[in-house]
């Protein structure tokens, strides 16, 4: 019984939790809301692990209301979705834990918005229907609008206004793209689209290509690819650390959508619309890498540096993806796991650092010693090594995968200098920040603001995930190889959705 409905649980758990959290809980509501939030995140991890194990035996499809695809709406869990769900669940717990030490009191309903945000993100990973993808995007967007404002303040307002207006326009383009694709194929189910788009001829195929490229624009806006990344640095640098840490997964939603749609619907076997947009992704990805490198070296605030690190990681992943081989997908997925955890950890570390430094906050200037100087310094050092990509952490393995994925001479000639060059800039920038903030401090009494041990443990958990990614790199890359095979050979996915063997009757 529960087995059949397992696929929809990642959506039901955060939704129910959020609704419970919205109830009036008497005098001290926050205590109950925190408990509900943590329980929901723990349950999500449990469900995600089960789904992950189940996905090894092929994709499972959940037809909502038993309306079979392509007419009904389906949720699909294949290996890629299962991994993304697990990643989200593993990220959510430490971030929420960190937030429970007072961060959630800065504005109302942080806890419920957090769960709604998870609902939107998980829904986007699970759905097998393009229109449903739009709906889940809107759910995650409207909670992210509110979360970005969390804590208030003038600078946040302007960054949020930019973010909201850009994304509203993006949503309109998303709908136009869906209209174009529906008008030409008569379906919005992804598996059905994959079959129908492959059979389009001449003019119809051109119109489908237009729809596909419009979709690429929308996903690139979410992922923050080159001409559409301007919202990201301000938004991520201005918002509170917890929200920024949760948003580490947001750009990955865009990248996931690109991987899903542009391998399944506009992949290699899609006839006249095959390999749509891959050349755009290659050049724009390289440009994003370069711009990110310049941004990192030019920022005077550590938060902004980390926001630009997100931009770099997006450029790296999309460039690698556009090389379109199993090897490159493996590299993208491994790098995605690594960069999600490490960016979240860095945002939280900087949040603690900014609080403990007081007036100088996270600006890269000489300041007073922090109350928990040693431990924060060590955490920053470890996280910096991981994100730069020096051994022994997972960043090194991730970069190795990416460099190895470049096969032809042209790919090597462009990708290697840009990846290694941006790595160098990141190293310079982070060592400058680290030495100014942790070594060249004013003499005298350290600051008296110290952070609760729980917050440090939450950051430690994220760093532990990095260590885990490094230690188990072998078995993880084996598993990701399986994802890459499935992504490059979508027949199993299509058969699971449209074929007769439904796992749910």
């Amino acid at each position: 019984m529960l087995d059949q409905h397992l696929v929809i649980l990642p959506l039901l758990i955060p939704m129910l939790a959020a609704l419970l959290q919205l109830l009036p809980w008497g005098e001290e509501p926050q205590r109950y809301r925190r408990a509900i939030g943590i329980i929901s995140c723990l349950a999500l991890i449990g469900v995600a692990v089960t789904l992950f194990i189940q996905s090894q035996h092929g994709p499972s499809v959940y037809a909502l209301g038993s309306w079979q695809a392509p007419y009904g709406i389906v949720l699909v869990v294949d290996k890629l979705s299962a991994l993304m769900v697990l990643l989200t669940a593993l990220l959510a717990l430490p971030v929420l834990w960190y937030a429970c030490y007072g961060e959630d009191n800065l504005g109302s309903h942080f806890q419920a918005l957090f769960q709604f945000q998870l609902l939107g993100i998980l829904g986007a990973f699970l759905t097998g229907d393009l229109f449903n993808l739009f709906v889940f995007f809107e759910i995650l967007l409207i909670s992210s609008y509110a979360l970005l404002m969390h804590g208030g303040g003038k600078q946040k307002l302007r960054a949020t206004l930019h973010y909201v207006l850009l994304n509203l326009t993006g949503s309109a383009i998303f709908l136009i793209a869906l209209g174009v694709i529906y008008g030409i194929t008569g379906t919005l189910n992804m598996a059905d689209l994959a079959v129908k788009v492959a059979n389009l001829q001449a003019d119809d195929a051109h119109i489908a290509r237009v729809g596909g490229l419009l979709l690429l624009i929308v996903f690139a806006l979410k992922a923050a690819l080159l001409p559409l990344y301007f919202w990201l640095p301000q938004a991520y640098a201005m918002t509170t650390g917890t929200v920024a840490a949760l948003f580490a997964i947001m750009t990955k939603v865009g990248i996931y959508a690109i991987i899903r749609v542009f391998t399944l619907i506009f992949g290699e076997d899609s006839g006249a619309a095959a390999l749509l947009g891959y050349d755009w992704l290659w050049w724009l990805g390289l440009g994003t890498l370069a711009i990110g490198g310049i941004g990192v070296i030019g920022s005077r605030d550590l938060r902004l540096v980390i926001a630009y690190l997100v931009v770099i990681s997006v450029g790296t992943m999309l460039t690698t993806f556009s090389m379109n081989s199993e090897r490159s997908i493996t590299a993208v997925m491994y790098y995605m796991l690594h960069s999600t955890f490490i960016t979240a950890a860095l945002f939280l570390i900087v949040d603690v650092v900014a609080k403990q430094r007081g007036k100088t906050s996270s600006r890269i200037i000489k300041g007073r010693k922090m109350a928990q100087h040693a431990i924060l310094g060590m955490m920053f050092f470890a996280a910096a090594i991981a994100i730069i990509g020096m051994p022994p952490f997972s960043g090194f393995i991730g970069k190795l995968f990416i460099l190895e994925a470049a096969r032809t001479g042209a790919q090597v000639a462009l990708l290697w200098p840009l990846v290694l060059g941006s790595t160098f800039l990141v190293m310079v920038s982070l060592s400058r920040a680290g030495s100014r903030m942790f070594w060249h401090t004013f003499d005298g009494k350290p600051g008296d603001v110290s952070s609760p041990r729980g917050q440090l443990i939450a950051i430690g958990l994220l760093l532990l995930a990095i260590v885990g990614l490094t230690v188990f790199a072998g078995s993880i890359s084996n598993f990701i190889n399986g994802i890459a095979y499935d992504v490059m050979h979508p027949a199993a996915y299509i058969e699971a959705v449209l074929g007769k063997e439904y796992s749910y009757e």
């Binding site: 003038k154 909201v164 136009i176 174009v180």
Partner: protein
């Protein structure tokens, strides 16, 4: 009918893009609202324009596609919520920053910006 319909959608889109490219939040919000009208009309037309038919299969030989109507309904609801939020946000920005310019009016103090 098709020509009139497409001209309407095109005009709405063109006007909304002009408004979205303005520098103040009020015209932008109006523009985005107008764009969502255009998008809804466009979505509605993707099932092909058919006159005087029921959206039910089986009763008669001709029918109109019911799915775009459902999609438009969903899009209207979502668009409505988003418009409400963006208006409130624009009002907050006007109130707290004292201006409805979307970008910082004085760009010369780049040092002060982080």
């Amino acid at each position: 009918m098709e020509a009139l319909y497409s001209v309407t959608v095109g005009m709405l889109t063109a006007c909304s893009i002009y408004l979205i490219l303005r520098g103040r939040s009020f015209p932008i919000v109006i523009g985005i609202t107008m764009l969502s009208y255009a998008v809804n009309l466009f979505l509605f037309s993707t099932g092909r324009l058919v006159l005087n038919q029921l959206p039910i299969i089986g009763n008669q030989a001709e029918y109109t596609d019911p799915l775009p109507q459902a999609l438009v309904l969903t899009a209207i609801v979502i668009g409505f919520a988003m418009t409400a939020y963006s208006i409130i946000l624009a009002v907050r920005v006007r109130g707290e920053l004292g201006t409805d310019e979307v970008n910082e009016p004085n760009q010369n103090d780049g040092e002060a910006q982080r």
